[in-house]
Subunit: 488 residues, 2 copies
Amino acid sequence: MIVHISFCLWECIGRRSGGGRVPVQSEGDRALVRVQDLTPEKADQLIWLRARIHTSRAKGKQCFLVLRQQQFNVQALVAVGDCASKQMVKFAANITKESIVDVEALVRKVEQKIESCSQQDVELHIERIFVISQAEPRLPLQLDDAVRPDGEGEEEGRATVNQDTKLDNRVIDLRTTTSQAIFRLQSGVCQLFRDTLTKKGFVEIQTPKIISAASEGGANVFTVSYFKTSAYLAQSPQLYKQMCICADFDKVFCVGPVFRAEDSNTHRHLTEFVGLDIELAFNYHYHEVIDSITDTMVQIFKGLRDNFQTEIQTVNKQFPSEPFKFLEPTLRLEYTEAVAMLREAGVEMGDEDDLSTPNEKLLGRLVKEKYDTDFYVLDKYPLAVRPFYTMPDPNNPKYSNSYDMFMRGEEILSGAQRIHNAQLLTERAIHHQIDLEKIKAYIDSFRYGAPPHGGGGIGLERVCMLYLGLHNVRQTSMFPRDPKRLTP
Amino acid sequence: MIVHISFCLWECIGRRSGGGRVPVQSEGDRALVRVQDLTPEKADQLIWLRARIHTSRAKGKQCFLVLRQQQFNVQALVAVGDCASKQMVKFAANITKESIVDVEALVRKVEQKIESCSQQDVELHIERIFVISQAEPRLPLQLDDAVRPDGEGEEEGRATVNQDTKLDNRVIDLRTTTSQAIFRLQSGVCQLFRDTLTKKGFVEIQTPKIISAASEGGANVFTVSYFKTSAYLAQSPQLYKQMCICADFDKVFCVGPVFRAEDSNTHRHLTEFVGLDIELAFNYHYHEVIDSITDTMVQIFKGLRDNFQTEIQTVNKQFPSEPFKFLEPTLRLEYTEAVAMLREAGVEMGDEDDLSTPNEKLLGRLVKEKYDTDFYVLDKYPLAVRPFYTMPDPNNPKYSNSYDMFMRGEEILSGAQRIHNAQLLTERAIHHQIDLEKIKAYIDSFRYGAPPHGGGGIGLERVCMLYLGLHNVRQTSMFPRDPKRLTP
């Protein structure tokens, strides 16, 4: 018996007989099996399964389906015979791709491995099939096209899907094995970040995103209408992390959105991204802060390597890349050493010039060649290229106690020892021609005793992109925002 | 020898000799002891400690200090004698309250317990003292006043601090034992929420806060200037959570800011708060969703009860309240039962009327009396009072498959089974006179197969407030935002 119940799903779903909107009360006794659990041990069992129709191919008196749950799929067959009528085969063949179905089926071991499915040793012989949710017949993109590596199948005229089409139809694109793997790994990065810091005694804080004054100078900030006045979106939790340190929380972290009204249309800029932020008081030297952050990154890299191999390999199938390499302890170079390495490679630059993006990438390659690591810290940036709240180097006023961290030659973290004295902070703000009135609350935070402290902000999407060796940060943002994209 | 090094802290801090800005390189061998570890086992040891001056009282040739680290404090003494000169005692007496100092001191067991300190069995005999960061002499509020219970000490003319003064000077107010306890507990709520859901197989997602269209109807939404156009701040991650369900993530959660441009100046409304959001596909009945959420709440309550007793008791000292009670399994009442209980208590209301805030509170008291629980679910709200995307009750079109959850009589979560069919969603949007063009992307998400699903959003600040029996949500928001407050 076949029943089509598409959209009349109410409180109870999965009915045995069709028509009308009267729900049948208890299907709760029907245990649903997961696709990944369909192994030869289940052979000859009659099971229930809920899954999407991944592909469908009718062939005479049979219809071959591939049923999918996230990254797992299994072959299924509806064939005219004892259990299925001709009409049922026809009905099954007409169910649109991406529809969600409930099937009752016999698990059968197969002689020859089914190479195209994740469950290679069994197939399902369907006895009943219900449509739980029907997809429209015309999909905006095909999942198989969306996971095809660039260039592959070009000769056969097989399509790939360009990035804008993927992002315009993100709900479909996120169903691909590649996207499922990327965002499961991203969830893992957040968890590893927090778990590592919690173990180190850090406290999680929640900082406001609507702020009254632009904390970092006023450029590149989004304005919000706030009742009868206006406000800004926080470019970072910087001020609030520091206030928490002044408020005796000692070591804090936060995970949340940060906003940059920068009209940059590059592979690595977003107008909204997720910041993994750290701030901590230190005892004697700001390298205690660097060590705490690099150790956290190393714990993340190890956790990904040890617990997310399936996801890494799934992404690699579509986007091949070298495994991510890191050292223990983390390599720390001084800015002057980096400038020397670049000059040796033919780059012309002054001692206090900032690194351009191409020079950062080149430096990444030089460091990889020399030290065999994809992760390192560049310490002691020239004071002139850092924000006003950066602590100058006590030994050389041209430099500062600040650092960036790099993965595969791209910056993923910027940080520093912060000035914790209101008078010095005022001097530096004046030097940077910042309107003192606008940052009064910030400066006042340091008037009632503030411990020496430092920290940094990590871009979650960049960490995921660079760890996986991807080339566009939009691939690691579920619903990316850039100057030209506000939807979906 | 005494040294005052206040703000000349650079790369290395804690210098042996004062003056100038030449840093002494290695103090890193000086291990700092934590106040909470100062117990009789350390008696007669010479230790180093970094802490704030909590109080200071000079008395002849002696100066009594209380040194504080977060919620822990210890008595310390500088006395003229072998180790300290008259000048040193005078210097110590002049260090302003809230300044941060390094002291070298001998730990001494005391005969009589020091009731006013957390470390009651020892005191410190200071031999050297360094100022690490000096506080301005006039504090905007006194910590002892800020933790005084309402009414206590009124006869002696002792002050308490009103809420606006506390919030205006939040950096100082957050140093109190009460604030330290509240926000350490809040950090725990987030951790328990995520850990419980991760164990249940949920995936953490990051959803955009800048959105192109107001997802929930258009009222109470903040507008953002977005390059040459304008955008909105998300009132909830509702649409994006649901899109993730349509994108096969099956069970998702997120923790992040939500924004409400509501001009409500009450004890429980903020314009920006932290949402703990859940969304999941279910198999047969939306009560699977309710069960998953209530179990998560119960795990949070148990985790707080078992791991945060010190924090709970610290807050109770200033704000006494009854211990939070909950049942297992969680009590679930239907809306009609609640209306009957209220009517029996003399309230006049129609079957389909929404609950007013006073009636919610009254209901909370009635439920507590009858069932002895501070936490329960109210199920099957009238359809008319819920948003357009709420699934109607299949058995009675006046009601819906939606629910609120309450703690101590106040709502902390609103949730529902969502309509997962584009056609029904369109019908309900038209019924609510919503401009279809504006929610096109939302409706389109359900066109390519969507599983039945439901979820809810929890207000973090409310959960903390109500669990602790506090009376204002601003107490559980580090830097609260309301129509009248945008700073600090």
